[in-house]
Amino acid sequence: MNHAQAAARFIDDRARAAWHDQVVWNVRVKRDKAAHSVPEWELLRELASQIKLHTMSRLAEYLEQFEREATRRGATVHWARHAAEHNEIVHSLLQARGVRHLVKSKSMLTEECHLNPFLERHGIEVIDTDLGERIVQLAGEPPSHIVVPAIHCKREDIAELFHKHFGTDADNCEPYYLAEAARQHLRDKFKRAEAGLTGVNFGIAQTGGLVVCTNEGNADLGVSLPKLHIASMGIEKLVPRAQDLGVFLRLLARSATGQPITTYTSHFHGPRPGGELHIVLVDNGRSDILGSDDFRRSLNCIRCGACMNTCPVYRRSGGHSYDSSVPGPIGSILAPARDAKKYYSLPSACSLCGSCTDVCPVKIDLHHQLLTWRRELAERGLVPLSKRLAMKGMSVVFRHPWLYRVAGTLARTIVPRLPRFLVYNRFNAWGRQRELPMFPRESFRDQFRRRHDDQ
């Protein structure tokens, strides 16, 4: 199913689609308020972008430095070329220590690697502890948003789900009641776990440290009780110096949810006394993106989600319509880099309005990259036949002015006289859910000539 088909399903429920649009937009509004409260916002964006581009220009050196420092502080660093290797490393760490229960905090990287089903196949219980992630895990769905994983769920859905799994009152959908039920349920899971896995928001090359940001405290609880902490980290997460965090942390939460900072911003340096810290550095296609002048900036991404909150397509089509671990504008750039054939439709799920580029805290030129992807996909022959033929036809018309004039005249004469079913049918995507604009009686060229003659 391509994006347009999946989106069509989502908007079938018009009331729900409108509700989703509004809920996501509210997050964007909060972001605006927070961003406008910082006088040096634009300077911060520029600095963040420069720091990331600098890091990418010396990534190998910084990774080596990070590894050296992390090792010096007692952590063990592992390297994974791709998702499967990441999963194998995590599994072997768990297996060697007899771990049967793992608590996980939010990590889009482990979603990207499909770690949960892999570990479950090996008999390990994996519990996502972020409330939103736990909700979608219980529902058997992937997250639909990278910051608010269950943003597509209504509280009635959650009440029903919790009723089924925790035996709560199915009719009580009061958020405090539901969150309390999840707190009690997850406390048990935290207590039982023999290992905790977290993602990584930032790695500090200079000190070998990891920074993890959460509001719920689930990451911290998950790695403070058991002895084993595994951190899965994409190789692009590095910043050179600890002071660089001052720039990124001012941007991250404000861009994500409109908070001035997340409740917990934890800096881990080595294991806690008596514990173990294992860091898995994952490439999984990132070094390929690094080599592309067109798409390198997408590695700046700090996963704040601002681009999806502002995106008119994401808000109206829902995160699941992208069928990718990272949806929305940034997902539509990253996913085809991984599998162009599967995700060919995503760069077209964009009106090129440019709002994502405006809000991006690390200045990724998102809508330019999406346009570049369309060209790239066309060159690779990954555009559907209907579109290819249409493009070919347009190209012929635009290259021959006489043909363009004839086509225009014919369209202006014929289309307004056609019966409705010939214009509004399944072959004309432009006539779905909307009325086409009226055809003018005269072309621009005719109008211009007439007015010129009048003078």
Partner: protein, 198 residues
Amino acid sequence: MTSRDEVLKSIRARRVPAMALPALQHDWVRYADAFAQFKSVVEAAGARCDRVATPRDIAPLLATFGEFQAATRTVSQVAGVAGTVALDDVDDPHDLETIDWAIMPGEFGVAENGAIWVTDERVKQRAIYFIVQHLALVLPANQIVHTMHAAYERIQPGKSSLGLFIAGPSKTADIEQLLVIGAHGPRSLTVIAVGPTV
């Protein structure tokens, strides 16, 4: 070739244009009254923020809180406040689950976002910050920096195995974006600032 070497080789094979690492010295925002700004952001994050004149006033202040009066098991690493459980005697962090209140020192606060820096130095079980039902952080009222840039000039990351900013009680908005305070961590945060603000 190991995976490590392959990843590094793959990175080194890419041509990436050079870009200088920018300096971070700028005229960052400064607040007329850093403490007032700090207090207002702390409260906006759902925490309580009180100022007392001397360390002797902390215990009497805590005694006025209903949840504190009801607490049976408490941990305190703040001088002048007595706890019922000594953290140094706790060998298994799981045993902390029944602690109602913890009163811990904070090093300094950040005016722009209400965050307080704490570490696990001299804190035997770092879980204490996350597992208790209610947390109080005590810091000198004159130790408020304006921005995160100033904060990172003070911090020595790596000095302790855990250092963190705490800004408010644990919370979630994962149910229809509606704010719920008390997710997995403390259900409340009380910030107690001690002494003069400047």
